[in-house]
Symmetry: C2
Subunit: 442 residues, 2 copies
């Protein structure tokens, strides 16, 4: 991928990623995964978790709730893979056929599992309800398999070992699947030494740089590490993430973190943080460290910036609040934006953005303030849709910045929010000595 | 599923859904789909679109960027399916191997396509850049296939017909894939009469009812339609959707819409709308119809409610703005919430919610107002996390409602926003005669 020069044959890096000791296959059951009603979120969850335990998923598929389809898929998976994880189709209804299809594929009968039966009786007793005969269908486990008890529902999972393969059946609802996997499946995989509690991967989030720019910047550093580390890039709407995963016999945790530090240095202000931090979270921590407060005034983003701060617990120590002024009267009435600014420069202007930031800082008595005003689309005004002015107020001064953002209304809102936060991040970086001295005064 | 009684064998409804004339298989290429970095969004998009054209996806899989894996997956797909859609792996780099792996699977050579070559030259000319030799690798099309020109990138797609099968290769980036599919692939599938421009499905969105309640309410109605319609349910965090899809030889468009109307009647206030409307959009339309305005005051949801309105173009006719008051000083200073309310009842109280709604209506001179104050978590206060008070101000009076919402902080925020909008929806419904008379006065 990006870490290769285009003329190369696939290199060691790309190849190593696929060479695992065990082939892992995820088979997700459900018509709703194929008709556009639901995304296969289990694949993202399990893919991430297994990758972090050096047991990446080799292949995944989505299969309809139809016995012939399921049987064929299970047989194929059993032929080519060592670990087969099946999600869904374990419920009490007649179209929940995962257990009997897997039993057929394994040519092994289903037997009633006592522990699972007791768990179901207990589940219903605790809720003062009566189980139906269908609920007991769920106690049927492939002979020789173990029931994985379900603390959040009635369908037990199954752990089956046969012919040196492992088959895991998991219930479909995420709140049942996740604890079952983490508490009962992962420990068994670790015990078998298929999964490894190795060094955690180092994740680096960058902001303001394109994927190819990030790859170009890091290539010399990562080329030196060669095939001692697995590298993956992922571009999101605003961020590009780089994930450095340890490989068997490669860099250890300390060396991996040191490599991360070298990347960080190289990326400069493009480095947002380790892990996958949201920029609002980064800003919040910086301001908390400075013991400073923030307020926001929003027009076209309509509260999205404010909402981003309040996604985090403890935000109220820094974030004072915001004003959403969606028309000019509100800008005048609540923020006291002078009519002359609105009539001379318009509500979408650098002047108005700065006035909004300064006004909301005064109104809420905050140290810093951000303001956003622009055309989210689909229509523009004096300027095209996507034109957004950012206003910034701080103890060292007030600035504005114009950005032109691509995409539809929702995308423009999202990009404007991140652009305003990045504006603040750059200013904080530039004036950090001043901010530091200021914070010591308090 | 839910439309069956648990004791049934899978009925005609469930079975019919799988019987299609053509087997359609999606093969998505990319390591990032398997290691948790990215969800397979193409499956959701194409699954929905094809289902609506009576050509549902039978099976899908995610495959690593490795030639052996890809070749094996393509060979298997060609054996069992009629239409094979491959996404990703068409880029200019050496690990973009979709075209040559498919050529191998089909035992057909790649040949340079003139039209694709010219399009690439033009693409770079328009951007004042020089193509590299790698870019021209992308002009290689499976012999006998057609290039699908890409107006948003350099990688052309491919349409290949061989042995009565159709193979479609699409570029990975959604903004390239979607227009290519809709403008070039779907018309070809319609022309072959594999896809059908049949009656569009009737989608019904419900709010405030659980999935099993919706199924129980609609079962008698839908049982009567028997296998003349395909029924699917999908529960989201706040909504339960029901989709009625026409089947060959079943209900026509008019009868399907009439069936939808019967469902609508049965669901009563639980019916939110046809399609998959957002509740904020429904409210906005209702208030626009009444020629009334709205303002909001938010504490724990921190701007999320306001942002929901401004996701829609033209919201400013109805939505005046909002105040995010994340601490008590702001509640006092900007909304003038009397100190006696805050000290006697607390900021998280029915009294404060009503006072916030009334205050913001006055401040912004709006007809209606909503307020939200509560404990989003992880910590509660005088009451547990998830406790939220909703305030509502209207020309006929002001009310509050207490809700206790499950989930983490993000989920509580999301649920509180929808609960407040649903509160307003119920009140509008109850006082609709009054609102109507009021609106005629204006």
């Amino acid at each position: 991928m990006a870490q290769q020069t285009p003329d190369d044959k696939p290199t060691g890096l790309a190849y190593r990623a696929m060479k695992t000791l065990h082939r892992v296959e995820l088979v997700a059951i459900g018509d709703e995964l194929l008709n556009g009603l639901r995304a296969n979120s289990h694949l993202v969850y399990l893919g991430d978790l297994l990758q972090k335990h050096d047991l990446g998923i080799t292949r995944a598929s989505e299969i309809r709730d139809e016995p012939e389809e399921m049987l064929a898929a299970f047989q194929q998976a059993l032929e080519r893979s060592d670990l087969i994880i099946v999600t869904g189709g374990l419920g009490p209804t007649s179209d929940d056929r995962t257990a009997d299809c897997m039993a057929s594929a394994l040519k092994t009968p289903l037997v009633t599992n006592k522990a699972a039966e007791e768990a179901i009786v207990e589940f219903f007793r605790a809720r003062d309800r009566e189980p139906t005969p269908n609920n007991f269908k769920q106690c049927e486990i492939v002979e020789g398999g173990e029931a994985l008890l379900n603390s959040n529902g009635t369908a037990p999972g199954q752990w089956i070992e046969k012919d040196e393969k492992v088959i895991v059946l998991l219930p479909g609802p995420p709140r049942e699947l996740k604890p079952m996997f983490e508490e009962q499946v992962l420990p068994r995989l670790l015990k078998k030494a298929w999964a490894k509690e190795g060094a955690p991967p180092v994740e680096i989030r960058t902001l303001g740089l394109g994927e190819s720019v990030v790859a170009d910047m890091l290539e010399p550093i990562l080329a030196e590490a060669g095939d001692k580390v697995r590298v993956a890039y992922c571009a999101h709407m605003n961020y590009v993430d780089v994930r450095l995963t340890p490989v068997e016999g490669g860099l250890d945790g300390k060396a991996l973190r040191a490599l991360g530090e070298v990347c960080r240095q190289r990326l400069g202000i493009g480095f947002l943080g380790y892990g996958t931090p949201d920029i609002a979270c980064v800003i919040l921590k910086q301001l908390r460290g400075l013991n400073k407060s923030l307020a926001v005034a929003e027009s076209c983003t309509g509260g999205l910036l404010a909402s981003r701060f309040t996604d985090m617990a403890g935000a109220s120590k820094v974030f004072k609040g915001g004003v959403v002024c969606y028309n000019n009267e509100i800008k005048e009435a609540i923020l006291n934006i002078p009519d002359c600014i609105l009539s001379q420069h318009g509500a979408v202007s650098a002047e108005c953005a700065v006035a909004m930031a300064t006004a909301v800082a005064e109104l809420m008595e905050s140290d810093y303030a951000l303001a956003i005003t622009g055309y989210a689309g689909p229509n523009g005004g004096r300027e095209p849709a996507g034109t957004v002015y950012l206003g910034y107020h701080s103890p060292v001064g007030a600035w504005s910045r114009k950005v032109v953002l691509p995409g539809n209304r929702i995308a423009v809102k999202e990009r404007a929010v991140v652009a305003s936060l990045d504006f603040l991040r750059h200013k904080l970086e530039k004036y950090k000595m001043y901010d530091l001295l200021e914070s010591l005064k308090c």
